[in-house]
């Protein structure tokens, strides 16, 4: 037998779909934002983990976060660092962060001596050669794939400057686009400067001891172990967690309000039917239950649609803008619960109102 719930939903398909769309919107907001935050965080973490230097040396005021535009450290520090006992390699690096090519997110470019950097991190070229000229860059395989770039392709950096892709490297480590240190210094008009120096040790297990020695030899600078560098975007942006939680709350509110509005309208439309239920002897609990069941049924449709739209939108955005999306079961469960509980709670007030209607007035309702 068709239940009252499904019969009512079928009777007003547009209203049901609009309500479900409201729930789906909440689910989409949670899934897309958390998926993007997680994707970016994990992407950065993966790329950071491929950097094999144990220590990052920079100016005290400089940043060892993953995003920095400062190039205020003299490259001569690299030579000084090599004199410290235990240091195997010291590679100066400039990192430049700009807005993403298609207006979304951000893009990082790194200026580094390719041969030294590749040797330090165990990287190799899968196509082409390392950057030499001032207008040459190498890119990683993901960048090549996502942006459909190959050796010989051109890309715009620093606004309007054209650079030629001369090589494709693997594995991904740090920024996806790398040029020579000289090219970056030239572009930023910062001769003989760098953002920091990557320090590779002879014995990685003695990182703390060597760091202390560097601090003694070159005091007044910032020495940080790469393992301590915050690579988790949620932690490196302190209010991201608050933002995500606020977003989740707003999503629940949106779902709840849309369902409440829809169910409130439904109750008004079906006043007489509620009167009939009362005449048949339906208890308040039965009436509340039927309305909440209908809201939950609509919410389930909304949650399923929300997941489908989220995955589709994530896939399309990832392909169009190369923004990584990574969904987690926990956030998926949160989104589903928000959709279901938001819908059920939203229906509660109209349901209780319906259960309290006067039966005779309801039966006389036109």
């Amino acid at each position: 037998m068709e239940s009252l719930v499904t019969a009512n939903v079928r009777q007003r398909p547009v209203r049901a779909l609009v309500s479900a769309a409201g729930v789906a919107l909440g689910v989409c907001l949670v899934m897309l934002f958390t998926g993007l935050a997680r994707g970016l965080s994990n992407d950065l973490e993966r790329r950071s983990q491929n950097l094999k230097a144990e220590i990052v040396f920079t100016r005290d005021a400089g940043s060892t976060q993953l995003m920095s535009n400062a190039a205020n450290l003299s490259v001569k520090y690299a030579e000084e660092l090599l004199k410290v006992d235990g240091v195997a390699m010291a590679v100066p690096d400039i990192r430049y962060v700009s807005q993403g090519g298609k207006g979304f997110g951000f893009e990082q470019v790194e200026g580094v001596d390719w041969n030294q950097f590749a040797a330090m991190n165990g990287m190799s070229l899968v196509a082409g050669r390392g950057p030499q000229g001032l207008d040459e860059v190498v890119i990683d395989e993901a960048k090549s794939r996502n942006n459909n770039l190959s050796v010989g392709s051109e890309l715009k950096l620093f606004g309007n400057q054209t650079y030629k892709v001369v090589g494709i490297y693997t594995p991904e480590a740090g920024p996806r686009v790398k040029m020579s240190l000289a090219a970056m210094q030239d572009a930023l008009q910062a001769p003989n400067k760098c953002t920091w120096v990557y320090v590779k040790l002879r014995d990685p297990a003695r990182a703390v001891e060597v760091a202390r020695r560097i601090d003694e030899a070159l005091p007044g600078n910032k020495i940080q172990l790469t393992r301590d560098i915050i690579t988790n975007i949620e932690k490196s942006i302190p209010y991201l967690g608050v933002f995500l939680r606020t977003l989740v709350g707003l999503s629940a509110l949106v779902s709840g309000l849309v369902v409440m509005l829809a169910m409130y309208t439904t109750i008004t439309e079906r006043t007489r039917e509620i009167g009939i239920l009362k005449a048949l002897g339906a208890s308040r609990g039965f009436i509340v239950g039927e309305i909440v069941k209908e809201a939950v049924f609509i919410s389930v449709i909304g949650v399923v649609a929300g997941f489908a739209v989220s995955f589709l939108a994530g896939y399309l955005i990832q392909h169009a803008y190369a923004l990584p999306f990574e969904y987690s079961w926990l956030w998926g469960l949160t989104a589903a619960l928000i959709g279901l509980f938001g819908g059920a709670l939203g229906a509660l007030y109209p349901a209780v109102r319906a259960a309290n209607l006067d039966a005779v007035s309801a039966l006389a309702y036109e």
Binding site: M1, E2, L4, A7, N8, R10, Q11, R272, E273, G275, I276, L277, K278, A279, L280, G281, A282, S283, R284, F286, A359, V360, L363
Partner: protein, 234 residues
């Protein structure tokens, strides 16, 4: 014969703004099990108010109603709903079927509500079949109300009212929206229910022919019973 319904000195006063409007002015009524009773009277005489009081949809201002031994007036709202669920079946002038459900769906909904606390959600299929056969609705069960004629809709409403074997059926002008032919069919069905199942029926009607089929007719005027007719033994 056992008294199945007892109403003692019922009054009902509606408050309209700051004015008290008396609808019932001391009505007493005894109805025996298996009785088929018609209540007649001009519009506004308090017939519907009385029916709603007897069905527990309204509470009297004063007086007492006993249904099958249970005091409706002393009961809480939840208890009154429970008594209504177990003891009363309603048939309305406007049929009041659920338009989104089929005829069968309407019956099953009533069974579901009735079985709510008894754990008999599926209802009694045997009883349902018997009622459907009697009301000649077997081939209409998968139709929605809008696909049925007025007479058929009222037969479904009657089937819904009797399917749970209520102690009393309260019918509020059940032929008021029907043409002569369908009125006759529905009234015959009421009579059949009364004969076959010894079903107690209290029916409000303006139609003298409908009233003539009942075993007793009472006349109301100005919130009072003015002519408590004699019972006819059949």
């Amino acid at each position: 014969m056992r008294t199945i319904l007892q109403a003692e000195n019922l009054t009902k006063v509606y408050r309209v703004g700051s004015v008290d409007v008396p609808a019932l002015r001391g009505v007493s009524l005894d109805v025996e099990e298996g009785e088929y009773l018609a209540i007649m009277g001009p519009s506004g005489c308090g017939k519907s108010t009385m029916l709603h009081l007897l069905g527990g949809l309204l509470t009297p201002t004063t007086g007492r109603i006993l249904i099958d031994g249970e005091d409706l007036t002393a009961a809480t709202d939840a208890k009154r709903t429970d008594i209504r669920r177990r003891k009363i079946g309603f048939v309305f002038q406007r049929f009041n079927l659920f338009p989104t459900l089929t005829a069968e769906g309407n019956l099953k909904l009533a069974e579901g509500i009735h079985g709510g606390s008894d754990g008999k959600k599926g209802g009694d299929p045997e009883r349902r079949r018997e009622v459907l056969r009697l009301l000649q609705l077997e081939d209409k069960m998968h139709h929605k109300p809008l696909e049925l004629s007025g007479g058929e809709q009222q037969r479904v409403a009657l089937a819904r009212a009797v399917v749970n074997r209520p102690a009393i059926i309260l019918a509020d002008e059940p032929t008021g929206n029907l043409d002569t032919e369908n009125s006759a069919i529905v009234l015959n069905m009421f009579q059949e229910m009364n004969y076959r199942f010894n079903q107690t029926i209290i029916m409000i009607t303006h139609n003298p022919e409908a009233a003539a089929m009942c075993r007793r007719i009472i006349q109301m005027r100005d919130g009072q019973i003015v002519a408590p007719g004699p019972r006819v033994q059949i």
